[in-house]
């Protein structure tokens, strides 16, 4: 009885993770510019992958009696590396001049790079 309930709970965790992954793929199609797409791609997808890995870890730990340290390490590594990847994608896009969506509200970063370049070599 308890084991059946546990199986259902783990199944729900994995199902939620895959639904979140599917929704972030939908967001990748629907959203209009690079920055908004990177919101959907790097973060919601990370959450989905984390939930699926957690579900797999729980299943191995409770039903096959095998505590998989590799899954734990995988969770930690995905958690640490994905925000850096998202940050670098967005920053590279902004520095190479990819425009924001035309309905964006404000842009505090515009002009910051140009000013910095003039301060470094004022002859140009």
């Amino acid at each position: 009885m308890i084991s059946a309930a546990g199986e259902i709970a783990i199944g729900l965790i994995v199902l939620t993770g895959s639904l979140i992954g599917a929704l972030s793929a939908l967001g990748l199609i629907r959203l209009p510019d690079v920055y908004l797409r990177s919101h959907a791609a790097t973060k919601s997808a990370t959450l989905g992958v984390l939930l699926i890995l957690t579900g797999a870890f729980l299943y191995f730990a409770f039903y096959l009696e095998h505590v998989s340290a590799k899954l734990l390490l995988g969770i930690a590594f995905v958690f640490v590396t994905s925000p850096v990847a998202g940050h670098l994608n967005g920053r590279a896009a902004y520095r190479s001049g990819v425009p924001l969506w035309e309905r964006s509200v404000r842009d505090d970063l515009s002009g910051v790079y140009k000013r910095g370049r003039e301060e470094r070599d004022p002859e140009q």
């Binding site: 979140i20 929704l23 972030s24 939908l26 967001g27 629907r30 959203l31 209009p32 510019d33 920055y35 908004l36 990177s38 919101h39 959907a40 790097t42 973060k43 919601s44 990370t46 959450l47 958690f79 640490v80 994905s82 925000p83 850096v84 998202g86 940050h87 967005g90 920053r91 902004y94 924001l100 969506w101 309905r103 964006s104 509200v105 404000r106 842009d107 505090d108 970063l109 515009s110 910051v112 910095g116």
Partner: protein
Amino acid sequence: MALQILLNFIIAFVWMFLFEDWSFSRFAVGYLLGIASIGLLSRFWPQGFYLRRLWAALKLLLLFAKELLLSSWAVMVHVMRPRLAVRPGIFALKTELKSDWEITLLSCLICLTPGTLTLDVARDGRILYIHAMDIEDAEELSEQIKGTFERAIMEVTR
């Protein structure tokens, strides 16, 4: 903090040497004794007892999990809505954090919460430029980040 943990391990090992018993339970008892003695003598350390900071780090982790679930739910709702109603934008956030390590932690946490993305950190490390999916009011959003993440990080590092 690292020194206190090292001292705690040394106390536990001394305890194991005293009994010539190399089991884990003896180590655990020695570690608890070390916690007690370091806690009693914590006024001799300039930065205070290390368990307090460990507790603050745990609270930061819980706070982060809460924010992650709440904001990812908000982003899901935005994506599923038939008409796209997001109002994206970039706003500058002045931060009071000083060291590189604290600023890296803050920008990683902002990157991981759905709906906000750190685009750049200013050269002097005082301003973070954040792309937000839905700026209702940038002041309010930055107050919210300051109130939650920045304060929790400060509690861990100082």
